[in-house]
């Protein structure tokens, strides 16, 4: 069985907050002038990631299904005079890079994931397989505009960052991936937003993953 202990958790539930309001609200969290080019998702991911003081030897796992939706929309709107800044910030995993470049904080192992239905379990599995003693699992989404109207963007804005440790000292929750019968029926799993809600409400979960194992979160 693979396990990690959740020792710290930071959340940002911006829901339908306008990017300008997020920028104003979080201005003091960043060096002067730094927020001007940051995306809403970058601001929020940074707000949750910074208190964990990511270090070079941490493994960093980042999950986002839609990632930099606003920058993507803006870059597409900028054609034919394509914007280099929006191109750069639209590329996954820009939100984390905005934060760590701002901190000038290198990290050896950085695994950005994307995807759909199984994103949460795959990101947690990547965290559980990391060989370092501390893993930071972070993620989030930002609410789209015209892409949301077409159902291809998140309808809410949020971010999270969890410190996961191989040591149980100071743990507030425990994540496990345990063997199960290979014939066990596949559960629907959690969307990234549902995972965020479980973290926010300190709710446990347990479900059968596509790898045929049981993934569980149990709070202390």
């Amino acid at each position: 069985m693979l396990e990690l202990h959740l020792t710290a958790l930071h959340l940002e539930d911006a829901h339908h907050e306008d990017p300008a309001a997020t920028r104003d609200r979080l201005r003091d969290h960043y060096p002067k002038g730094a927020t001007r080019r940051m995306t809403q998702l970058g601001l929020l991911v940074g707000s949750t990631l910074n208190p964990l003081n990511p270090g070079q030897d941490d493994t960093l796992i980042y999950a986002s299904g839609y990632a930099e939706t606003r920058a993507l929309e803006g870059f597409l709107d900028s054609f034919p005079g394509a914007s280099p800044t929006l191109f750069q910030t639209s590329i996954h995993p820009s939100a984390v890079q905005q934060t760590l470049i701002g901190r000038q904080q290198p990290v050896h192992a950085f695994f950005p994931l994307t995807g759909g239905a199984r994103l949460v379990e795959q990101a947690i599995t990547a965290a559980l397989l990391a060989p370092t003693s501390r893993v930071i699992l972070c993620g989030g989404e930002e609410r789209g505009t015209w892409m949301l109207e077409h159902g291809i963007a998140s309808d809410r804005t949020f971010a999270f960052a969890c410190a996961l440790s191989t040591s149980p000292v100071g743990a507030i929750a425990r994540l496990t991936l345990a063997p199960k019968s290979q014939d066990a029926p596949l559960d629907p799993g959690l969307s990234l937003g549902e995972f965020f809600d479980h973290l926010r409400q300190h709710q446990p979960f347990s479900f059968t993953t596509a790898s045929g194992r049981q993934l569980s979160l149990v709070w202390s």
């Binding site: 034919p80 290198p106 192992a109």
Partner: protein, 368 residues
């Protein structure tokens, strides 16, 4: 800190602007380039820039995407079945997925394009089209994406969570991507000449897709070590002292002593990054021949790590490695190999890739 345990490669193939693996290797050995001048925005025009599209494909966006048949044909050659089931996970890696479809929607207004435009939509479509099960993981980290898939596959195998792992990596060009690189001023009318001393740098872009089946105990090649490092210094440049490149090589936890390696670098054709990379590689592995193939293939973006791994395997099997196509003496370091060479004198090849944010990845390919 090595990122992944050693794994074996049971199968690994690619498609590029030249065709399949054999066609690609033959063309590179002959010193040919697949790069051609193409309007940067495809049918919407713009400056001519070097691109290497899969033979028969245009930069037009269609619905479904016109690259799909090429990916389907590649996937049809993957040995085995039941991919995506609990013990046979699939890892997709890409930088751009079907993002060209969003550009197509914006220019045509046809909503049919939208289904493929996001990674989520593109993957949902691909999993169904390719008949895969639900055990699918997706990494996207620009031009080191493929390396993340290979590392994660090694960890799945090492932890006993899989019997075999399939990694599929793809990036097909679109005006979205070429327009973006053109806006960054590194994609222009000049053709790339990786590792060549010249006054200005430039890159070319290429279509690329590849797969690898990794196992614990089958296949005549092994990935003996893998490593990563992310500088997080600047988005589109590296630390000027080259320490980011050196840190990744340090993390490989191997030494050149006793090993005779050749070096397949990232080598897009940019000057500064090319020089930093070449210096770091040849300081760590002096007198090892250094090549880049992006002057022939173009930069195949998120797929480049796996595309070039497939070519390296084919080259070692054939006993000849292509030189640095598109470049000519004088090189930025003496170790740059411009011509094809015999691989029989070497124990393995070190393959590297780099990406935005100062991301670095490296793997050591050896005989099993």
């Amino acid at each position: 800190m090595a990122a992944s345990p050693a794994v074996r490669i049971a199968a690994c193939e690619t498609i590029t602007g030249f065709g399949d693996t054999a066609e690609t290797l033959a063309a590179l050995l002959a010193g040919r380039s697949a790069l051609r001048p193409v309007p940067v925005l495809g049918p919407d025009g713009g400056d001519l820039v070097p691109m290497a599209l899969i033979p028969g494909r245009s930069l037009d966006e269609t619905s479904p995407p016109n690259w799909l048949p090429y990916l389907v044909a590649l996937v049809a050659t993957i040995p085995g079945d039941n991919w995506g089931q609990p013990r046979r996970p699939v890892i997709f890696t890409s930088s751009n997925f079907g993002v060209g479809s969003l550009y197509a929607y914006k220019t045509t207004g046809e909503t049919a394009h939208l289904a493929y435009g996001t990674p989520r939509g593109c993957l949902t479509f691909l999993v169904k089209q390719l008949g895969l099960g639900p055990n699918v993981t997706t990494f996207s980290h620009a031009c080191v994406s493929a390396h993340l898939g290979l590392i994660h596959a090694g960890r799945l195998l090492d932890a006993g969570l899989a019997d075999d792992v399939l990694i599929i990596s793809f990036d097909f060009l679109s005006p979205f991507v070429s327009g973006g690189f053109h806006a960054l001023k590194i994609l222009n009318a000049e053709f790339p000449s990786p590792y060549q001393k010249r006054p200005a740098g430039s890159i070319g872009l290429g279509d690329g897709a590849a797969f690898a089946v990794l196992t614990r105990d089958r296949g005549d090649f092994a990935i003996a070590a893998q490593a990563l490092h992310n500088e997080m210094h600047l988005f589109t440049a590296n630390r000027a002292d080259g320490t980011g490149f050196a840190a990744c090589l340090e993390n490989l936890n191997i030494s050149g002593g006793g090993r005779r390696l050749w070096l397949k670098g990232h080598g897009t054709g940019t000057l500064e990054a090319g020089l930093l990379e070449a210096r770091a590689l040849t300081e760590r592995f002096p007198h090892s021949p250094l090549v880049s193939w992006k002057g022939g293939l173009g930069h195949t973006l998120g797929s480049c790590g796996l595309v070039e791994l497939a070519i390296a395997i084919a080259a070692i099997r054939q006993g000849r490695a292509p030189g640095t196509v598109g470049s000519q003496p004088e090189g930025i370091v003496p170790e740059v190999a411009f011509d094809a060479f015999d691989t029989s004198a070497f124990d393995g090849v070190l393959c590297t890739s780099n990406a935005f944010g100062g991301a670095h990845a490296a793997l050591l390919l050896t005989h099993a």
